[in-house]
């Protein structure tokens, strides 16, 4: 028995519908509250005092490229940022139109590779049927993987499944594709040989962890993890990391009691697995902090933002010691340099992005809070919209920067010099697309981006466009994935002169000094002037 909401064309259990109406659709402001708030709005003035014009804020960047950032310590109010955003939006409109023309002229939709979802059976989505990759893929110098959610509709039911697809970034050709459970996340080993996937069964109530050969998509091992679910929202987990030497896999998980996704209070724990076999070798439960943890990509640090105290704590996973206690700002993510030395912890202080920089070799906080001048808002999926170039010289950060209808979407990707933490450029995506996740390209100046179409046609469930663009790089559409929502992009660049192998030591361009277990030095505010060469690290290679 079901009812139907006619603007949804969905069946609704009438008992549930009535219950939710009774419980949720009643109540409101008291007359006293209403009167008081109306009085505060001061609606008696005849003319609404809106800004007479758009005035750039003092000290704001003067060019579209946003080359100059505000001095450290300077704060802009939200209002000022809005005004600045308006200025840039006007300018970006013209640039966007120009870019759209370029885009359309160079990438005819009819010629774009279109990847349709393959056969999908429910409720057993684990069909590991990867097509063997051609030899050219094994020898490719650059590879791209799309982790996506596949949506299919069967009557009134929407079926979801996870999928990992290997693409040739030059031709857009699909090399192999693997269907998995839903809510998948994945990471690629540094040597490019293995993809590790955290997936959930179709009912979302049990996790699985598996390893896949990145060259041909064959499954290497798989383990079931009963009664645990991943640290995830529907947009994908953020709790999978691989140790620097590639031997240990770290996974944050929770008790499944509260449902198919982790919640901070649901018995969070960190499990450590042998990356070659999937055997669990250690576990760590942490409590006393109701909040969202982030693993640094190389699993060296756990970044904890607790509800019951301001700021964030960065904990060394090897020693369990506190590396840094960052002051009270909203933690939005962290990213590690490719050599593993620098950990950037990025937060949002009421609209102003700030970055803390931690030297993971000395466990020293180098910069406590440096303002990063970006215009826009923190996206919901910030973790997927921040990435770092293969040489570690540039951070790419996507922000919500434009309006589609009345919805803010991510069209701008700022390029940040990691030496200075200053913005050195801004890349604007095509007007019709909305960046959702980024992966760095081999040239260190461009990115691959998966875009969700900003669509208003309810018949279009999802479509993801994979593109390549950047500073001085002509935008190019690589592939269009129909009925898929890209959750994460993984890219891999073959190190110059290096074979694809598990020779981890040869990839370690910046070896860490022995860790003595000494207590980290006190956090200090330091001038941000790192000389990488002097520290014995070459950033030009991986």
């Amino acid at each position: 028995m079901s009812d139907r909401h006619d603007d949804l064309d969905l069946p609704v259990d009438p008992t549930l519908d009535a219950l939710l109406r009774r419980a949720l659709a009643t109540g409101g402001l008291t007359p006293q509250q209403r009167d008081r708030r109306l009085e505060e709005l001061d609606l008696t003035t005849p003319e609404l005092e809106l800004p007479g014009g758009i005035v750039p804020v003092s000290g704001a960047p003067k060019s579209l490229s946003f080359d100059s950032a505000a001095p450290r310590g300077e704060r802009r109010s939200r209002r000022e940022l809005f005004e600045l955003a308006a200025v840039l939006a006007v300018i970006a409109l013209g640039a966007g139109l120009l870019l759209a023309q370029l885009w359309d002229g160079r990438s005819d939709p009819a010629t774009r590779p279109v990847i349709q979802p393959g056969p999908f059976a429910t409720p057993a989505p684990f069909v590991a049927t990867a097509t063997p990759a051609p030899p050219s893929f094994a020898g490719a110098t650059e590879r791209l993987y799309v982790v996506s959610r596949v949506l299919t509709q069967a009557g009134d039911t929407v079926l979801t499944s996870g999928r990992v697809t290997a693409l040739d970034p030059d031709s857009g050709r699909q090399e192999w594709s693997l269907y998995l459970g839903h809510m998948v996340d994945a990471l690629l080993s540094r040597d490019g040989a293995t993809i590790y996937v955290a997936a959930s069964r179709a009912d979302g109530m049990q996790g699985e962890l598996l390893a896949v050969d990145a060259i041909d998509g064959t499954e290497l091992w798989r383990i079931a993890i009963p009664d645990r679910v991943w640290w995830s929202d529907e947009e994908g987990p953020a709790g999978l990391a691989l140790s620097r030497d590639g031997t240990r896999l770290y996974l944050l998980s929770c008790s499944r009691e509260a449902g198919p996704a982790c919640d901070p209070s649901d018995d969070p724990s960190l499990a450590i697995y042998d990356a070659s076999s999937g055997r669990q070798v250690a576990g760590l439960a942490f409590d006393g902090c109701l909040g969202t943890p982030y693993l640094s990509p190389d699993a060296r640090a756990l970044v904890l933002a607790c509800e019951d105290r301001p700021g964030a704590r960065v904990v060394d996973l090897e020693s369990g010691e506190l590396i840094a206690a960052l002051p009270g700002h909203a933690l939005v993510g962290s990213v590690a340099s490719p050599d593993g030395r620098w950990l950037y912890v990025i937060s949002d202080d009421d609209g102003v992005y700030q970055a803390a920089v931690i030297d993971m070799h000395s466990r020293e906080l180098l910069v406590q809070m440096a303002s990063v001048a970006l215009v826009g808002s923190q996206p919901e999926r910030f973790l997927d919209l921040v990435t770092i170039s293969p040489d570690g010289s540039r951070l790419f950060i996507g922000v919500l920067s434009a309006y589609e209808g009345n919805t803010r979407v991510a069209k701008d990707i700022f390029v940040i010099d990691t030496e200075t933490l200053q913005s050195v450029g801004r890349m604007t995506a095509s007007p019709e697309i909305n960046a959702r996740t980024l992966a760095p390209a081999a040239d260190n100046r461009s990115v691959f981006a998966a875009h969700a179409v900003v669509e208003r046609d309810p018949g279009v469930w999802a479509r993801s466009t994979i593109t390549h663009f950047g500073l001085g790089v002509e935008p190019r559409t690589i592939a269009v994935l129909e009925h898929q929502q890209a959750l994460r992009l993984l890219s891999w660049t073959k190190p110059a002169g290096q074979p694809i192998s598990r020779d981890w030591a040869s990839l370690e361009a910046c070896p860490a000094p022995p860790y003595t277990g000494a207590a980290p030095s006190d956090p200090r505010q330091a001038a941000y002037s790192r000389n990488i060469t002097d520290k014995g690290c070459s950033r030009g290679t991986r």
Partner: protein, 196 residues
Amino acid sequence: MARDLSPRLDAPEEEVGAGPDDAALALAARRDRRQFVHLYERYADRLFRYAKARTGSATAADDIVSETMLSAMEDLRRFDPARGSFAGWLFGIAAHELSARERRRGRLRRAIARMWAPDTAEDDALDSLIRYEDVLLARRLLAILSPADREVVLLRYSAGLRATEIAEALGISHGAARMRLSRALQRMAVELGDDR
């Protein structure tokens, strides 16, 4: 036996959309801020219900209504009727305010534990008792959902938004909003069925 529901969930107060439409009111309020009072009257209670469901606190909800209305009034020039509904735009502001608040003060999970404590001051005893049971049951059902799925249910039932407006408020596609709502209602119905 199936029965038809109205396109919009029944709002307990005035029918939204009756009289001058939102867009006309918004345009009028740009010229004369006094006209904003009509939009306030139209949406204040729905904002309050939505904010209270999100925060679990009537005081916080009161603040959110105030902050959202103030932001909407100041930024009214940003609202473009040709590009979306006023409701979607307004609740998008509210959702942003709530998210910022939750980032500062804790996640939704904590709020759920104290969500919808029944306000007995204005209800008679029987109504309160019935509603209290409903609230407890609804709270338990909502607790099984992911935060994202819970959000669309609250926007649907507390705020009375259409799927298109939910999509606009959350910055997601219509299809995604529809999918989330479908999935959430199915899960809750299964859970409810297990109780019956």
